[in-house]
């Protein structure tokens, strides 16, 4: 008898947890702006309370807004797709639409197969030569693939962000992609966590590419599990990422005055 009630209790507890979890999910869905294409961006992934002062200044002054994207291979689509189809190019298009009065320039610096530790020391020099207002630094994937020591990774990202700040530019961090098919081979969690830590400590906006793609995959917007050949899916995902990134930059440059509680 005691056993039955015990079992009942634990089952009802579990049910409670599940109900709570799904209730939160419902909240999130109803809060997000309706409509839009399949790949909508939930508010909580946008609202950075961290500002991009240099970007805000440039927009206020009427431009130009120079953006430099530093990233590894996942900041580009290969397999014959034009560079404009990748998310940096898509972001540029979206930004130009949103800020029609302002000149927006983009340069992309792909450093394939380089870890954060290998990229960070060169950031200052890149800033010197390209003179950007904003540097978008995508990193973490190569580190996760090579299973670099997470502490070393954190120190490298930290050093890179500090170097960017000292060079007098705004910075945005972009974390790895959500890649369900390689989940049993690559474990990104330590790198995601450490990027979040650096973003918090250095008060730099973090564009959570991983969470976004995971959400789109769960919503059924994209089948990221599929072993598709061809670049169509990649183009669509990059299009969505680019638009989301443009929203993210504008939201971070004009942070909401105060979070209503």
């Amino acid at each position: 008898m005691k056993l039955v009630s015990g079992a009942f209790l634990s089952v009802s507890l579990l049910a409670g947890f599940l109900a709570a979890a799904s209730a939160h999910a419902d909240d999130a869905a109803s809060n997000a702006p309706a409509a839009a294409p399949a790949c909508e961006v939930p508010d909580y992934l946008l609202s950075g309370d961290v500002a991009l002062p240099k970007v805000a200044e440039a927009v206020k002054a009427g431009g130009p807004l120079n953006i430099l994207v530093v990233g590894s291979r996942s900041s580009a689509i290969n397999a014959g797709a034009p560079e404009a189809a990748a998310y940096p190019g898509q972001m540029l298009t979206a930004l130009k639409e949103k800020l029609p009065a302002i000149e927006v320039n983009l340069s992309v610096e792909i450093q394939a197969k380089k870890t954060a530790e290998e990229v960070a020391p060169g950031l200052a020099k890149l800033v010197e030569s390209k003179k950007p207002t904003l540097v978008i630094w995508q990193t973490g994937t190569v580190d996760a693939v090579r299973a670099v020591d997470p502490d070393d990774f954190r120190n490298a990202v930290d050093a890179g962000v500090v170097a960017l700040r000292e060079a007098g530019v705004d910075a945005v961090l972009v974390n790895p992609q959500y890649s369900p098919r390689t989940e049993s081979m690559i474990s990104p969690s330590a790198y995601l966590d450490n990027m979040r830590v650096v973003a918090q400590e250095q008060e730099v906006p973090l564009f959570d590419r991983f969470a976004l793609m995971q959400k789109w995959s769960e919503d059924g917007a994209f089948d990221l599990f599929a072993p598709v050949h061809g670049a169509e899916l990649a183009k669509q995902v990059h299009g969505c990422l680019g638009r989301a990134l443009s929203q993210f930059i504008i939201a971070s440059a004009h942070p909401k005055p105060a979070q209503e509680n």
Binding site: K2, L3, G6, A7, L14, F17, L18, A21, H24, D27, N31, D43, Y44, D49, S72, R73, S74, I77, N78, A79, A112, K113, V142, V145, R146, A147, D149, P150, D152, R154, S179, P180, R181, T182, E183, S184, M185, S187, A190, D193, N194, R196, V197, Q200, E201, A211, Q214, D223, L224, F225, A226, P227, V228, H229, G230, A231, L233, A234, V237, H238
Partner: protein
């Protein structure tokens, strides 16, 4: 846990001087199993399996979503407890050399199991490498690079320096078991001193950044210098520590502290999964707390495990009738064959991944895979114990010698 300690403390006090006397009752009356250990080790094995599959509905049932620690802590602690119980007795009865030999035999089994899993991993990754050509993930496919130099990779794997994802627990277990003869030897002199040294080593790990290096770079995901604390703590509990702590565990103050800490951990974890709540977290707290290192067994994680364990021992008495119920039988059986079931779980997680990827299955299939995995694990555990029983029956004489391994459910 008090009662376990009672049962263990008797041979402990007698065993020091009068070996033959202590030996006789141990064989005549087979010690009753501590089913709670089996139960929670079984639970840990199920949770590890679920955590190794991609995120799905069942993942929400695993404890890592409700606090800092997860199934690994449970697994390592119980392993320390049972290993110390079983081989500690072997050391008292048969001496240091024989016990060490038995431990080494166990280490060899674990090593073979690890190599077996690595082979399966190689098969999976090679298959995926040739069939997966999504341009979105060109970069992630860099993981296949090691296939280009199998000469180095495979040797490094045999040396336990190259350990693919989800294959980190067994190497940790091997290293801990290799230290076990020394731990037990020291514990026979002074259990408290051993625990003290273990805490010192843990502190030194954080201070001096001790670690095992890995291939191609970085270090072991589970740092043995840090995780030994849980293992030794488990061993210490088995050697009478649990009994001495019983008054602390029973005190209402402990209850409140544990409850409050678990609630705090739950609320913090909630902000990870419901990012809308993120702005409620004080910045100061975040900066002090993060990152919560799993590699070095963060103090927050260890404390979370302690709190969970204290509450479990308090509210789940040793003689809880539910432990005998058929509903918990599958869990207990899995816990009694931990090494086999652990390996099977890792294999099933690989297989599950593979099926999900090939059929691009949705939530429904995902759920089916998780449940079938658990059923397969339970079925296998039932078969192992059936086999062991019938083998025991046919070879009574042999069983007496091998009994030490059975008593703790195979440490």
């Amino acid at each position: 846990m008090t009662s376990v300690a009672d049962q263990i403390s008797a041979p402990l006090s007698a065993g020091a001087g009068v070996v033959p006397l202590a030996k006789a009752p141990a064989i005549a009356r087979p010690t009753e199993r501590e089913l709670r250990l089996d139960l929670f080790r079984g639970l840990a094995l199920w949770l590890i399996f679920i955590d190794h599959l991609p995120q799905n509905l069942l993942t929400w049932l695993t404890i890592r979503n409700y606090g800092f620690s997860d199934a690994t802590e449970i697994f390592i602690f119980i392993s320390g407890y049972t290993a110390s119980f079983v081989y500690g007795r072997a050391m008292r009865e048969a001496g240091f050399v024989v016990a060490t030999a038995r431990i080494l035999r166990r280490v060899w089994q674990i090593y073979v199991a690890h190599v077996f899993l690595f082979t399966i991993f190689l098969a999976e990754i090679s298959y995926v490498a040739t069939s997966f050509e999504n341009p979105l993930y060109t970069e992630e496919m860099g993981i296949m690079d090691f296939l280009k130099e199998p000469d180095v990779t495979i040797v490094q794997a045999l040396l336990l320096r190259f350990r693919p994802v989800n294959m980190d627990v067994l190497p940790l277990y091997i290293v801990l078991m290799l230290w076990l003869p020394f731990i037990l030897w020291l514990m026979r002199r002074s259990a408290d001193l051993t625990l003290g040294l273990s805490v010192l080593l843990y502190a030194a790990t954080w201070q001096f950044d001790l670690h095992f290096s890995a291939y191609p770079n970085g270090s072991w995901f589970f740092n043995p210098f840090a995780w030994q604390l849980l293992f030794v703590f488990g061993a210490w509990c088995a050697q009478g520590g649990a009994q001495r702590m019983s008054r602390i565990i029973a005190s209402p103050i402990t209850l409140w502290i544990c409850g409050a800490y678990l609630l705090f951990a739950f609320l913090v974890t909630l902000t990870w999964y419901v990012p809308q709540l993120g702005h409620l977290m004080p910045k100061r707290l975040e900066q002090w707390m993060y990152p919560i290192s799993k590699t070095d067994l963060d103090v927050l994680r260890f404390a979370h495990f302690l709190a969970l364990a204290a509450l479990t021992v308090r509210f789940l008495p040793r003689d809880w009738p539910g432990l005998k119920s058929p509903w918990l039988r599958p869990l207990i059986l899995c816990g009694q064959h931990s090494l086999e079931i652990f390996c099977l779980g890792v294999f099933l997680a690989f297989a599950g991944h593979f099926i999900l990827a090939e059929l691009s299955g949705g939530t429904g299939l995902h759920f089916v895979i998780s449940i079938s995995g658990i059923l397969i694990m339970s079925g296998a555990a039932w078969m192992f114990s059936w086999y062991k029983h019938s083998a025991d029956k046919s070879g009574r004489a042999k069983a007496a010698a091998g009994n030490a391994d059975l008593a703790g459910g195979g440490a």
